[in-house]
């Protein structure tokens, strides 16, 4: 075992967040096997933030520069990685939309196996042992990978480490490649109303809102999440005509399963709970500390939603701005 290659993402000359996490995952595995970690950044000009990568766990930082790397260029990155792959025991990427696109291409090019959305990776003898969610997270698979596997590490799985590493900079040559896919740019997402069954974040309101016009508070909170949140509602307020029917959560056997579900002024009638209890994280805001919603919520705040929701909106907006 020699080294692990961690491919980091940049956009417009800035490293994408998640670099430290990915290096932490690579660092831990490398330390198990006495190996080193190389970080590879593909860009078309200077990339800011590279000087911090040593402290985040990279022994070396490799920079590949090419005019086509102004946008994500999978064919070029694959060619670059393939040219240096012989030096590596494994290739790590972050399981972002870019990493998920890249990982199988690299793997196929190297004749390697690819493990996606890995939440844990360790050495197990001569193999890499990874854990990854399958069946939409309803089961966890543990897999041993031989060869030079490409491992896409799910964001949020590792906390950054503080390492006293050199992070020496080096340049790698981008070999000639054929740009088969031409990424032309990234446009802003349309502001389309997300369906409650599709949104990553659902902000739901119930009778505690007191009036239809107070749904505006929830719209503001949803907006603070950017394009990934939408507003839902309990059946009581849908029936009362406060919000359209499509927003309803928990009428029949259908469920919503967002990453984050925020129940505002919803007491938690069972029909509602049946519809949302498969959410990954449930937050409840309610005046009544004995409301059933608190029994299923991961985190609850008791109190006046008209104070709490605007405060939360401001806080989320601040996080998202960073």
């Amino acid at each position: 075992m020699t080294a692990i290659l961690a491919i980091l993402e940049q956009r417009n000359g800035s490293l994408r967040k998640g670099a430290a996490e990915l290096l932490a995952a690579a660092r831990q595995v490398a330390d198990q096997g006495g190996a080193t970690v190389d970080a590879l950044v593909c860009g078309h000009g200077p990339v800011t933030g590279l000087d911090g990568l040593g402290a985040a766990g990279a022994d070396r930082v490799l920079v590949a520069t090419h005019p086509d790397f102004a946008n994500y260029c999978p064919d070029g990155v694959v060619a670059t990685v393939a040219a240096i792959a012989a030096n590596y025991r494994a290739v790590f990427v972050a399981a972002t939309s870019t990493g998920k696109d890249l990982a199988p291409r690299v793997a196929a090019h190297l004749g390697a196996t690819c493990a996606m959305d890995v939440t844990s990776v360790v050495m197990a003898g001569a193999m890499l042992r990874v854990v990854r969610p399958v069946y939409a997270g309803r089961a966890l698979q543990t897999v041993d990978l031989a060869g030079t596997p490409v491992v896409a590490v799910r964001p949020g799985s590792y906390a950054g480490v503080a390492a006293a590493k050199a992070g020496a900079m080096d340049h790698v040559t981008v070999p000639a490649f054929t740009r088969r896919l031409e990424v032309t740019g990234i446009r802003a997402p349309e502001k389309a109303a997300l369906d409650v069954t599709e949104a990553r974040v659902v902000i739901s309101g119930g009778r505690g809102l007191g009036d239809a016009k107070n749904f505006a508070l929830l719209e503001e909170l949803a907006a603070a999440f950017g394009g990934e949140a939408t507003v839902g509602a309990s059946r009581a307020v849908v029936d009362a005509g406060w919000i359209e029917h499509g927003a309803q959560v928990g009428q029949t056997g259908k469920t919503v399963a967002p990453d984050l579900y925020v129940a505002v002024g919803i007491s938690g009638a069972v029909q509602h709970l049946a519809g949302m209890r498969t959410a990954k994280v449930i937050v409840a805001i309610n005046r009544d500390k004995d409301a059933p919603i608190f029994k299923v919520a991961d985190f609850g705040i008791v109190g006046d939603l008209f104070e709490i929701v605007p405060a939360l909106t401001a806080a989320i907006a601040k996080v998202k701005a960073n």
Partner: protein, 249 residues
């Protein structure tokens, strides 16, 4: 236009997962199997592309054991012209499966090869891009928009904070995401017609690859919730928990 779609048969997404006696797979007793939902976007896209071109052929290809023929028939009932069953047990290593598919797809000489962006059983999210790489074809993954004209395709896919736009020449491989279209349901006539459409069986044998499944386990039960605090003063604490503990922000 000649378009192939690679299809997987997967447990219905509402299936209650029970770990099988072997400890590495699910207990399939009583489980309802359906076409992989993302593959339905690919099937719909294939039919729409052929319709838009005015002529051509749509072919659905599936690697799997015999039960996958039922899923192929569903694709035929939706309106796909013919089916190829690569008959054999898929490997746990996605690359081995991609190699089999690539080898057979190469002989079809398609203008486009479509996949779902992922299969909802193993969440491997790799076969389409691997097949493209093995075939030396351009590939756009997780496309929510796909337009073809003059031998070129333009695509869009969702990335963090935006929509990535790309283009490539045909032939090419695309993996399809939600939002691309509304897949049609098989019609009664389609179900009848599907029985008469060709379904060719090609025995294959997937290599064992470089993957060994060690175990399959259920995730830990949801921990009991907690009250973070009272009033707006509790918001910073909540945010801390959502960021560092729950990691949903």
């Amino acid at each position: 236009m000649k378009i192939a779609v690679c299809l997987r048969r997967v447990p219905d997404t509402t299936t209650k997962i029970v770990i099988g006696a072997d400890g590495v797979s699910i207990n399939e007793a009583g489980v309802k199997f359906v076409p992989n939902p993302y593959d339905e976007y690919a099937l719909e896209a294939a039919i729409a592309l052929k319709d838009a071109a005015g002529s051509g052929e749509t072919i659905v290809v599936a690697l799997g054991e015999d039960a996958v023929q039922e899923t192929l028939r569903t694709a035929l009932a939706m309106g796909i012209d013919r089916a190829i069953h690569l008959q054999g047990k898929p490997s746990a290593d996605g690359l081995e499966n991609a190699r089999l598919l690539a080898a057979h797809l190469a002989s079809l000489n398609c203008d486009a090869v479509l996949f779902g962006k992922l299969a909802v059983d193993d969440y491997g999210q790799q076969t389409g891009a691997m097949v493209a790489e093995l075939m030396g074809l351009p590939c756009a993954t997780a496309v929510a928009k796909l337009e073809v004209s003059g031998g070129r395709a333009t695509t869009e896919r969702e990335v963090e904070g935006g929509v990535e736009q790309a283009g490539c020449a045909l032939p090419a491989v695309f993996t399809c995401d939600k939002g691309l279209n509304n897949p049609r349901l098989p019609s009664l006539k389609g179900i009848m017609a599907a029985k008469k459409k060709p379904l060719d069986i090609v025995p294959v044998s997937a290599g064992s690859g470089q993957v060994a499944i060690v175990s399959l386990a259920l995730p830990a039960e949801r921990a009991a919730g907690r009250i973070v605090g009272e009033g707006a003063a509790a918001v910073p604490a909540l945010l801390q928990l959502l960021t560092s503990e729950a990691k949903v922000l």
